[in-house]
């Protein structure tokens, strides 16, 4: 009991802690965006190969979708 009171006193939401946490969280944003765009585009290329169509529809649609998804997820994480 005494211990948990002691822990509460420590104030886990101190500005220093929050700063480091935010830094850690945003430091992954770039990798995250790259990952999303790469995976969706790669999927599009694969699907186009499977479909064998003349115009790479899947690549175009999925890569644009990837860019949209990457921006959406990055902004959503940023706001949180």
């Amino acid at each position: 009991m005494e211990e948990s009171q002691q822990l509460k006193k420590k104030n886990p939401k101190s500005p220093v802690n929050k700063g480091i946490r935010d830094f850690a969280r945003y430091s992954g944003l770039a990798f995250q965006m790259i990952g999303i765009i790469l995976i969706t585009t790669w999927g599009g290329v694969k699907l186009d190969k499977l479909a064998g169509s003349r115009i790479p529809v899947f690549t175009i649609v999925l890569s644009l979708f990837g860019v949209f998804a990457a921006i959406y997820i990055a902004v959503k994480d940023f706001i949180k």
């Binding site: 822990l7 886990p12 802690n17 850690a24 990798f31 999303i36 979708f65 998804a69 997820i73």
Partner: protein
């Protein structure tokens, strides 16, 4: 204060001056010595996983290495266990060969009676490679540390820490007070402490072991993408299994999103689930690998210039980088644990 700043400034000048002159020389001499010493192959071989633990090459070209066990399984031949010495220098053994060139470089392939490699049916390679041995050593070190820690607590109870206790106790408390509790809350943090502490110390021990260049240390474990992939997968699985109703609702029926947008938003949210551990995996892998490459490149400078006079500069920078890597070792263990607990915490939001 002023003198400190002045010393710092001179130190900075010294560093930049040395780098500029070093780069100038490098450009000039690179062309000449390119044939003599291939730095990139040397570096890539050192950071990659391998079936043998290379120690040194003698002047006559003989290799001194620890040969690790090879464990192979293929449908036709069944299970085979033998020392990797049998495959050294391109030898064939039991119809297997270590490929030395091409896309399958450093992979074990099965060869037919004419010596042609079968590139389509690769045997399942379960060998104890360098990274596996490194991990086992890390596990042994971790066990020794923590069993002795537990014993000393059993003996003396909770009193002022002594010996190894005084080093490990603050670190464990740091993981609890600064990582787990702020992100997971006072009521739930205890459930995740075993995983967070295990991940933290596993990454930390492996990072630190990677900095020591002599076997059994020096395997680039946390700079191996398979290892970071598994670690990130653990975090991913734990996050999904601790996700509560609110978490899943935000994914499959995000509040405030019109229903006709849901077919687009649900895939986006699902991609978001996977992209977070993906970033976790890449970060640890990239940071550790980059550190190793920098240290190895600095050492390679001596061989690229082929002169002893570069050695002091190179060694000075290597020591500097090693200290930086010491910081990175702790920092990456901290960030991995912090983000893991953050993701788990985000999957279990308290009602608001």
């Amino acid at each position: 204060m002023k003198t400190k700043k002045l010393i710092g400034f001179f130190f900075f000048l010294l560093l930049t001056g040395a780098t500029i002159s070093a780069f100038g020389q490098e450009l000039q001499e690179k062309k000449e010595s390119e044939e003599k010493f291939d730095a990139s192959t040397f570096i890539l071989e050192h950071i990659a996983d391998s079936h043998e633990w290379h120690i040194l090459t003698k002047e006559n070209g003989d290799n001194v290495a620890i040969y690790l066990p090879v464990i192979l399984y293929s449908k036709e031949k069944g299970l085979d266990v033998f020392s990797s010495k049998k495959l050294a220098d391109g030898q064939e053994y039991l119809g297997y060969k270590l490929e030395e060139e091409g896309d399958l470089k450093d992979k074990i392939v099965s060869v037919n009676s004419e010596g042609i490699a079968d590139e389509k049916n690769l045997p399942l390679d379960l060998s104890m490679t360098k990274a596996v041995m490194g991990m086992l050593f890390a596990a042994i070190i971790g066990l020794l540390l923590f069993i002795s820690l537990a014993r000393s607590y059993k003996k003396t109870g909770i009193s002022h820490p002594k010996g190894i206790q005084s080093f490990l106790e603050p670190v464990i408390l740091f993981v609890r007070d600064d990582i787990a509790i702020p992100n997971l809350g006072l009521h739930r943090y205890e459930r995740y402490m075993p995983y967070l502490l295990t991940a933290f110390f596993f990454i930390l021990i492996n990072n630190l072991m990677g900095l020591i260049p002599v076997p059994p240390f020096g395997a680039n474990v946390t700079g191996n993408i398979a290892v970071t992939f598994v670690l990130a997968t653990f975090t991913f699985i734990i996050t999904q299994f601790s996700g509560n109703k609110t978490y899943w609702k935000h994914i499959f029926a995000a509040p405030g999103v019109p229903f006709w947008l849901l077919p687009i938003m649900i895939p986006v949210e699902i991609i978001g689930l996977f992209s977070k551990p993906f970033a976790l995996m890449i970060r640890l892998f990239a940071n550790i690998t980059a550190g190793h490459i920098i240290v190895l490149s600095l050492i390679c400078l001596i061989f690229i210039f082929n002169s002893l006079s570069v050695a002091p500069v190179s060694i000075f920078f290597v020591i500097f980088m090693d200290f930086l890597e010491l910081l990175v070792a702790f920092l990456q263990a901290y960030i991995f644990t912090l983000l893991s607990s953050l993701f788990i915490g985000m999957a279990t939001p308290e009602h608001h």
